[in-house]
Symmetry: C2
Subunit: 307 residues, 2 copies
């Protein structure tokens, strides 16, 4: 295998269903309707291991983002379970931002398990300002700042590169007038390369820049922001007062949505980071059919991508 | 019903099995051995609702501690699921300390769901020093400092009282020489009273004081620190370098353990906050039989206690 990716979680912040929500889509999930599959919050695990065997000596895993549901995700994924007395195959975590749904799972990785933690200087300074992340002791979890645009080596022979993606700072750091489409190191995407395979992961994007489009064109797989189908979806559902763009996410549908912007880019396009209000979560819905007709897939927990 | 308690999670920090652990007890859990039941991290939900119906108008729920597994716990507990479009029955959360396994679940309760958050001044100042908890906006989640020893009213007609319990500050705030049996507001227990019923919850105790013993004697149910069976259990398992006492937890067994100290106190005694190395997790083990012979129960996820 050249590069294997496990989708540990495919939902946006809050997960699907969301703890306090009974919107039309969540209601199906609470009722166990077979047209929808529950999803935990977005995180992926990548490896160059030849198979799912858990025998010692297998290649390590790298997590991209650590969702609040990480403990549940590890329990559901045999390949991520410990191999020795205290030996997890998780050798590194890379953060693409400092939001709760990207970082809270770091708190699950306490208990003195060694791994390397990568992120931009901005994201690591957000962690440093929150003492609770001190449960990851510096002597076992080194924090390594990486520059967007500079490739770096990850365990297992994976080459990675962070790159700027228009977005915003984490919600809990917003001021009164947050910049919504800033290209800063608060929000990045990641490209992963191994043995000639290329996967690009962009869980949050306010828009697609020309540089991003060039990068995606070369990718074998693109995992892209599928938060909302329509910009005003949460407002229409009575589930919130914010548009998608206010949250730093471009919509999936419409003339300036992801389906239009990514048309023809990459060999395989998969929407991820899907909000609980998004009707593409419902198999057979008009929006789901639109997505599929445009040649996009909808990520779900437990998906495995072998390149 | 006078006072109903749901055990949402019964494990200590890290849960059972723990992400990076293959000790003798965790190994049974990873293998699906029927003698052990997986457990999420300790949190309980209390209510005075007459039944489990989720129809609008039912009494609210109060959570005691918000474990990192809270999203999974809500999904597993129909009574805690939303009743209206955006209306959770969770009306309040009370913290007994600022450890990760007591607070990280607050991050799950974001998305502008209103509830009241109670804790000691010390615990609330720990939260305030970590900006990530700012996802709980002050206009929807008021934070209310309560004094140990002063009763206060919770939603649903529940009266509560925090009280000092010997313990220590959260791990991530430890200095070089943490005081291990301090009676400060960093670590408290809680007594809950409704309609004449009394439940006492003490998930962490370095020792039992005379004042605690007096309080427990009057209780219908005591939920008490069952972290480790033996003080050196983690060292013997090769799973760590700390004793239980170093972590602020008295052992279950032995001449100065919880079984001896609590003998005859309270009408029903249940051990909770059980570490993944603790052999009382194995049904039929000698330590489990010792606990049961002493008149104690072992908490598990999904237990319901009706008083």
């Amino acid at each position: 295998m050249r590069l294997t990716t496990f989708i540990l979680g495919a939902a946006a912040g809050g997960g699907f269903p969301q703890w306090n929500c009974n919107c039309d889509v969540c209601r199906l999930a609470w009722a166990g309707d077979p047209r929808v599959k529950p999803r935990t919050q977005t995180s992926i695990a990548v490896t160059t291991a030849p198979n799912e065997s858990s025998s010692p000596g297998d290649a390590p895993f790298v997590l991209i983002n650590a969702s609040p549901d990480l403990r549940q995700q590890i329990v559901a994924t045999p390949a991520l379970q410990p191999r020795g007395l205290r030996m997890s195959p998780i050798a590194a975590v890379v953060l693409t931002g400092g939001e709760v749904d990207q970082t809270a799972g770091l708190l699950t990785l306490r208990e003195r398990g060694p791994f390397a933690l990568y992120g931009t200087a901005g994201t690591l300074s957000t962690l440093a300002a929150n003492s609770i992340f001190g449960v990851l002791a510096a002597d076992v979890v080194p924090r390594k700042a990486v520059h967007p645009g500079s490739p770096f080596a990850l365990p297992g022979g994976i080459e990675a590169e962070l790159f700027l993606v228009p977005g915003k700072t984490p919600l809990y750091l917003e001021g009164d007038n947050p910049e919504l489409e800033a290209e800063t190191d608060a929000n990045v995407g990641i490209e992963l390369r191994a043995n000639g395979a290329r996967l690009v992961f962009i869980p949050g994007a306010a828009r697609l820049t020309a540089a991003m489009a060039t990068r995606l064109a070369e990718a074998d797989v693109v995992l892209f922001d599928g938060t909302l189908f329509s910009d005003d979806e949460m407002i229409a559902a009575g589930a919130g007062v914010k548009t998608g763009r206010r949250m730093g996410h471009m919509p999936v549908g419409g003339p300036d949505g992801a389906l239009a912007a990514l048309a023809g880019l990459g060999r395989r396009r998969i929407l991820i980071h899907i909000n609980n209000t998004n009707p593409i979560l419902i198999e057979g819905s008009p929006q789901r059919r639109t997505v599929e007709a445009a040649g996009f897939e909808v990520a779900e927990d437990g998906m495995r991508i072998d390149l």
